[in-house]
């Protein structure tokens, strides 16, 4: 079991040992880095491609139909067909658009999506770079996506694209804050910003002492996950990407491979955000019996399944309702959550558990009551003869 668990690590070590036989010594670290980069560069796009297929099949099954199954058995070659289609499309740039920015925007959005793969712990000893400030790195780099979206909207030289892009930027900025604040309790609990340390801190009880099983962890998980879904521009927060009123949002003027890059960035973002949520709240690669990377990928794909489930079921929010949700509901709740975490660690167990649950429930109830206009009204329908 140990061998299976560390199979990728031993694979990498084997390659390094084999190469050290006939290469000079100074190439050792370079080769190690190169192998990690190669693995991520392989994992990222392939994951994204098969996530598109998974989305179509899962949403199809929810709608009582089979997803794509003509190209290859179970549709396995469908992403390759899609890739070929995207590559052979004509690349249209609007006449008055800013050509440099138009080209730069898709690159700017894909780079952060790939960069954050470096700090995600895929298994035991399987983090690409074990930074001591891993979580900060992740949250900082993934915030730069906003600039890329705004660049794309500006470069299109299209007033409605700009409007859609500004709205997308507003959405991403307003959902950053509750996301970061809901990660703070985890940092308090594990006393470190490194992803490796956070996963190690969830190791008790045969690897089942995950942070989600605490009251503050549970609320923080819900807030973090909702904000993550909004960051990835997925349903029900997909106003920027879907028919934003009458236009297609910030990526209207993109076609072919550039559009494919936007698409790729969205899916890779959803994968990495699920990965981070797994790391912070669900115990990363901790778990009994199975190899660590199996646990990690299982939990991440479970969260991705929930994202796809949202997509298949829920209608879309309107812009002002979305902003209301972020600022008036999630932000105060995440602040209260930070205080409750402190309360939990400061006070002794029985009072701690009951008190935390009580405070969180009460604050949630108060906030929902304050935003009364959201609640469905009770209506009575008369029947006439």
């Amino acid at each position: 079991m140990e061998a299976l668990d560390q199979i990728f690590v031993s694979l990498k070590q084997g390659i390094l040992n084999a190469a050290a036989g006939f290469l000079p010594a100074w190439t050792g670290p370079l080769l190690s880095v190169a192998i990690s980069i190669g693995a991520i560069a392989l994992l990222g796009p392939v994951t994204m491609m098969y996530l598109t297929l998974l989305e179509r099949k899962v949403v199809g099954r929810m709608q009582n139909r089979i997803g794509p199954n003509r190209v290859g058995k179970w549709g396995v070659l469908q992403p390759l067909a899609d890739g070929v289609k995207m590559l052979t499309k004509e690349d249209i740039v609007p006449a008055r658009a800013d050509r440099l920015l138009h080209l730069l925007a898709p690159l700017l959005i894909v780079m952060p999506a790939l960069l954050v793969f470096a700090v995600i712990p895929f298994g035991k000893h399987m983090t690409a770079v074990d930074l001591s400030v891993g979580v900060l790195y992740f949250l900082a780099i993934s915030s730069t996506t906003t600039i890329a979206i705004f660049t794309a909207a500006w470069a299109s030289r299209n007033k409605y694209s700009l409007l859609g892009g500004m709205r997308a930027a507003a959405q991403m900025i307003s959902y950053e804050i509750p996301m970061v604040l809901s990660a703070v309790p985890i940092l308090l609990a594990s006393q470190s910003l490194s992803t490796h340390a956070i996963v190690e801190a969830q190791g008790g009880f045969h690897g089942l002492q995950w942070f989600i099983f605490t009251p503050w962890g549970f609320v923080a998980f819900i807030i973090f996950f909702l904000c993550g879904v909004a960051e990835c521009n997925r349903s029900p927060f997909d106003l920027p990407e879907a028919e934003s009123e009458i236009i297609a949002g910030f990526h209207t003027e993109y076609s072919g491979m550039k559009f494919a890059l936007f698409y790729m960035a969205e899916f890779m973002n959803s994968f990495t955000l699920s990965g981070l949520a797994t790391t912070l709240f669900l115990g990363g690669w901790q778990g009994p019996f199975l190899p660590s990377w199996v646990w990690f990928f299982g939990k991440t794909y479970a969260l991705i399944f929930i994202m796809l489930w949202f997509r298949g079921t829920l209608p879309r929010f309107r812009v002002d309702q979305m902003m209301n949700l972020a600022w008036k509901l999630l932000l105060p709740l995440s602040l209260v959550n930070v205080i409750v975490t402190g309360f939990w660690f400061f006070v002794n167990p029985p009072l701690a558990i009951g008190g935390s649950i009580a405070i969180l429930w009460l604050s949630g109830w108060i906030l929902v009551r304050l935003n009364q206009s959201y609640l469905p009204e009770k209506r009575t329908y008369q029947f006439a003869d």
């Binding site: 929810m62 009582n64 139909r65 079921t313 829920l314 949630g364 469905p376």
Partner: protein, 211 residues
């Protein structure tokens, strides 16, 4: 409502149930509803009404159509074109020389089938007539429209048997009427010549009154 978001969670349970059911259950219980055409097909319904076709009884020369032009007159979008056949002496025959139906115009209403007095034109089930160009392949001429009565029985058994019975009854009635008329004529002929030897008809004492 117990908590904010309860409606959403309940809705998601419905979708999850559909997701799980699609692996195990069939179309009736909320499972997978897809029929993968063209490998699988739904069963054909008998009354399905698609483009028309002409019937012949035993051989294609024996077609029932007499080129009366009623279906062409009744057709709402006027997609039928009939030209009667003439023989060598320019006398009109009771057959069509040209019978064209333009499938790009026909709207499958079935009025031609209802209007035909000779049971000659009926609605077919054939819908797989897609072609790459319009004028050659989608103008069906007489040879493409003629199909046998056995084919009609195969696609629409109850209608075909009912029609056959009706035609057989009408035939029988016509034959009986003819036989009775012939009998009457023969009796009227035989009446002035009583006791002619060798005749097989029984001599009538008085002229028959009713037939």
């Amino acid at each position: 409502m117990m908590y904010f978001g309860e409606g959403v969670v309940k809705g998601m349970m419905v979708t999850l149930k559909a997701f799980v059911a699609s692996y195990f259950k069939g179309p009736e219980d909320g499972g997978l509803f897809t029929v993968e055409y063209p490998e699988q097909r739904l069963p054909e319904k008998e009354n399905f009404r698609n483009f028309p076709f002409l019937i012949y009884d035993n051989t294609p020369d024996n077609l029932r159509c007499v080129a009366c032009d009623i279906c062409a007159k009744e057709c709402p979008p006027k997609c039928i074109y009939i030209v009667r056949e003439f023989d060598k002496d320019n006398k009109p025959l009771k057959r069509p020389a040209v019978f064209n139906i333009d499938h790009t115009v026909c709207m499958n209403c079935g009025i031609c089938e209802e209007a035909c007095p000779f049971d000659a034109i009926y609605m077919d089930h054939n819908f797989e007539i897609a072609s790459a160009e319009r004028n050659e392949n989608l103008l069906f001429r007489k040879d493409k429209l003629l199909k046998s009565n056995e084919y009609f029985h195969k696609i629409r058994p109850t209608d075909a048997t009912a029609i056959d019975e009706r035609r057989a009854a009408a035939e029988a009635k016509k034959k009986a009427a003819e036989a009775a008329a012939a009998q009457k004529a023969a009796a009227a002929q035989a009446a002035p010549k009583p006791a002619a030897p060798g005749t097989t008809t029984p001599p009538a004492a008085e002229p028959p009154k009713t037939v």
